[in-house]
C-alpha cells in the first residue's frame, strides 16, 4: 500500500467509527451528558453551596474540569471497547484482517474514533457546565493537549480490553472495577491536599490523578502535582499501551486461530 492508500484506509475506519457512534447518539452521547448534568446540579449546585472554596476557587468551578475529564475517559474507553468487541464478536473484523491495511493503521483508526467520541461528549459536557459555572481558561494549550492525550490513552485501554474480552461481561469488568474507582479517587471532587498523609501517598499511585490535575491546571491554574510529571506519565502509558496493542494485533490474539 502506498502512503496515500494507507491514509484512505485510516480515514475509512475513522469515518466508520464516527458514523457508528453518531447513529446511536441516544446510547452514546446523551447518557453521559445527563449523568454529568446531575453531578453539576447535585454536587455543585446543592451540596457544593455548603462547601467552602477549594484551593481558593468555588467548589463548583473546582469540580467542572474533573467531571469533563471523567466523561472523556469513560467515553473514549467504551467507544473502542464496544466497537472493536462488536466487530470481533460478529467477525466483521475479518473485513480488515484480510485487507492489506497494516495493523498500525487499524489501531490508529479505532483510537481516532474513540478520541472523537471522548471529545464530542467532553465538548457537550463543557457546554452544559457553562450553565452552572464560569469557565476560566488559564492555559488552553495545557487543557487541550492533556485531554487529547488522555483520550488516546483510554481509547488504547479500551482496545486492549476488547482484544482480551471473550464475552460481553468481560468488557464491563475493567470499567467497573478499575476505571470508575480510579476516576472517583483521582481527585475530581476533592484536592488530595485534604487527605491524611497516608492516603495522599496512595493517591499518588493513581495515574488518573495526574490527568485530572493537569487538565484542571489548564483551566484554573492550580494543581496538586507537577505538570511535567503528568505529561511524562501520560505519554509513558500511551507508549506502553501502543506497544501492547500492536503486539496483540500482530499475533492476531483472539482473532486468528
Amino acid at each position: 500500500m502506498t502512503l496515500d492508500q494507507k491514509l484512505v484506509a485510516f480515514r475509512t475506519i475513522f469515518y466508520k467509527e464516527v458514523v457508528r457512534f453518531s447513529r446511536i447518539w441516544i446510547q452514546t452521547i446523551l447518557p453521559p451528558v445527563i449523568t454529568t448534568s446531575l453531578y453539576f446540579i447535585i454536587f455543585g449546585g446543592l451540596i457544593g453551596r455548603q462547601i467552602h472554596a477549594m484551593e481558593g476557587v468555588r467548589y463548583m468551578d473546582f469540580i467542572v474540569p474533573g467531571l469533563i475529564m471523567m466523561s472523556v475517559i469513560t467515553n473514549s474507553y467504551s467507544n473502542v471497547v464496544s466497537s472493536f468487541y462488536g466487530a470481533k464478536f460478529q467477525r466483521s473484523i475479518e473485513e480488515m484482517l484480510v485487507s492489506p491495511t497494516p495493523n498500525w493503521i487499524i489501531l490508529s483508526g479505532f483510537i481516532a474514533g474513540g478520541v472523537a467520541r471522548g471529545l464530542v461528549v467532553g465538548g457537550v459536557v463543557t457546554l452544559v457546565s457553562l450553565f452552572f459555572s464560569r469557565l476560566h481558561v488559564y492555559n488552553p494549550w495545557v487543557s487541550v493537549s492533556v485531554v487529547l492525550l488522555t483520550a488516546v490513552l483510554f481509547s488504547l485501554g479500551g482496545f486492549i480490553n476488547s482484544i482480551f474480552a471473550r464475552n460481553f461481561d468481560d468488557i464491563s469488568i475493567v470499567p467497573t472495577f478499575v476505571l470508575t474507582p480510579l476516576t472517583y479517587l483521582g481527585g475530581i471532587f476533592y484536592s488530595i491536599q485534604m487527605l491524611p498523609e497516608f492516603w495522599r501517598r496512595i493517591s499518588l499511585g493513581n495515574p488518573i490523578l495526574y490527568m485530572i490535575n493537569a487538565f484542571r491546571y489548564g483551566f484554573l491554574g492550580i494543581s496538586d502535582i507537577n505538570l511535567d510529571l503528568s505529561y511524562g506519565i501520560i505519554i509513558a502509558f500511551i507508549l506502553v499501551l501502543v506497544a501492547i496493542s500492536l503486539y496483540l494485533l500482530d499475533r492476531g490474539y483472539g482473532m486468528r486461530s
Binding site: M1, T2, D4, Q5, K6, V8, A9, R11, T12, I13, K16, V19, G86, A87, Q90, R91, S92, E94, E95, M96, L97, V98, S99, P100, T101, P102, G252, R256, S257
Partner: protein
C-alpha cells in the same frame, strides 16, 4: 508462468492439538476455475483461512501470484477476494457502507469506492436494499452481499467457501452465470461446495481433500474419464412382472416400472436399447442415478479411508 496460488507442504495444528492439514501441495493456474472439494471437516476452510491470513499456519509456504503471504503480505492480500463460509457481516451496517468501507481498506478513495459499491450492488441484485442494514436481509441475500464485498477491489483471485449454501435454485443459477462471466474476464476462481453438480458445471480443475491430505488433483475432464461405469435408471411404459434374461447386461429390477442398469463406458448404450427393444420393453425415460462427479467423489473418499484404515491396522 507464476501460479495464482501456490501451496507447499502446508500443515496446520490447531491449539486444541488437532492436526487439520498434514502437508498439502497445490497449484492453481491464473485464469483457472478451480474446485476444492472434500467431506465436512476435511480441511478446506482451514486451507482457505491460511491463504487469506485469517488462520495462522503451522508450517509450509503459500504465495499468491508470486507474493509470499509472510514476507510480501500487503501485495498478496491485495490480490485476494474472500467469500467466507460463515456470514461475517456487521448486521447493523447498511450494505452500501459496508462495501464502500471495504474498498477503503484497500486504499480506494471514497468517491470511487461508492461508485464501485453501487455497481456491485446492482450486479448482485441488491440495489433496492442498498441503504438497509444487513440484519434485514435474507440468508441468500447475505451470501450475495459477501460476493459483492469480495469483489469490491477487483481481486485477481476470488476464493469462495461454499457460496451457494442455502441459496435457492434460481439465484444459484444466476450466481453461476455471474461467476462464469468474471472468470471469463480473467479472474481466477477457487470454489468449495458440497453440490457436486455445481463443481462439475463450473470448474475446470479439481482437487479433493480428505482428512487434511490431498487425495486427488487433476482436470475435471480427466477425472470424469476415470469413471468406468455409470448407473442409469430407466422408466418403462408397460409394467414387468419379471425381468427377462438379458445376457451381457448388469441390470436390476427396482419395481415393475423401473430398471437400474450399470453401463460401462466402452460398451456404450446402443446395445442395451437394441436388446430391450427385441424383448418388447419400451423405455419412456432415462436418467443418471447419481451425479457423475458424486459417484467418483464417493469412490475416491472411500478409497482414501480404506487405505488409511489398512495402514492403521498394519501399524497396530
Amino acid at each position: 508462468m507464476t501460479p495464482a496460488l501456490s501451496i507447499r507442504n502446508l500443515t496446520k495444528t490447531y491449539q486444541s492439538g488437532y492436526t487439520a492439514l498434514k502437508g498439502i501441495d497445490l497449484d492453481v493456474n491464473p485464469g483457472d476455475f478451480f474446485a476444492l472439494l472434500g467431506p465436512n471437516g476435511a480441511g478446506k476452510s482451514t486451507t482457505i483461512g491460511i491463504v487469506t491470513s485469517l488462520v495462522t499456519k503451522t508450517g509450509g509456504k503459500v504465495s499468491v501470484f508470486g507474493h509470499d503471504i509472510d514476507t510480501d503480505f500487503s501485495k498478496a492480500k491485495s490480490c485476494i477476494g474472500l467469500v467466507p463460509q460463515e456470514i461475517n457481516l456487521n448486521i447493523f451496517e447498511p450494505l452500501i457502507q459496508i462495501l464502500a468501507n471495504q474498498a477503503g481498506y484497500y486504499g480506494i478513495a471514497r468517491r470511487r469506492a461508492l461508485e464501485r459499491a453501487e455497481y456491485y450492488l446492482g450486479r448482485l441484485g441488491l440495489w433496492d436494499r442498498r441503504n438497509d442494514a444487513v440484519r434485514t436481509l435474507s440468508g441468500g441475500m447475505k451470501r450475495r452481499m459477501m460476493i459483492a464485498r469480495a469483489l469490491i477491489h477487483d481481486p485477481r483471485l476470488l476464493i469462495l467457501d461454499e457460496p451457494t449454501a442455502g441459496v435457492d435454485i434460481e439465484i444459484r443459477r444466476s450466481m453461476w452465470e455471474f461467476l462464469r462471466e468474471i472468470n471469463a474476464a480473467g479472474t481466477t476462481i477457487i470454489l468449495t461446495t458440497h453440490y457436486l453438480e455445481e463443481a462439475e458445471s463450473l470448474c475446470r480443475h479439481i482437487a479433493i481433500i480428505d482428512n487434511g491430505l490431498l487425495v486427488e488433483n487433476t482436470t475435471m475432464k480427466k477425472l470424469l474419464a476415470k469413471l468406468h461405469t455409470e448407473t442409469f435408471v430407466l422408466d418403462l411404459r408397460m409394467p414387468l412382472t419379471q425381468l427377462p434374461p438379458l445376457p451381457g447386461h448388469d441390470i436390476r429390477m427396482l419395481d415393475g416400472h423401473t430398471l437400474e442398469v450399470e453401463i460401462s463406458r466402452d460398451s456404450g448404450i446402443n446395445k442395451l436399447f437394441a436388446d430391450l427393444s427385441a424383448r418388447n420393453i419400451e423405455v419412456l425415460s432415462m436418467r443418471n442415478k447419481t451425479n457423475r462427479l458424486e459417484q467418483l467423489f464417493m469412490s475416491l473418499v472411500e478409497g482414501s479411508r480404506q487405505h488409511r484404515g489398512a495402514c492403521r491396522r498394519r501399524q497396530a
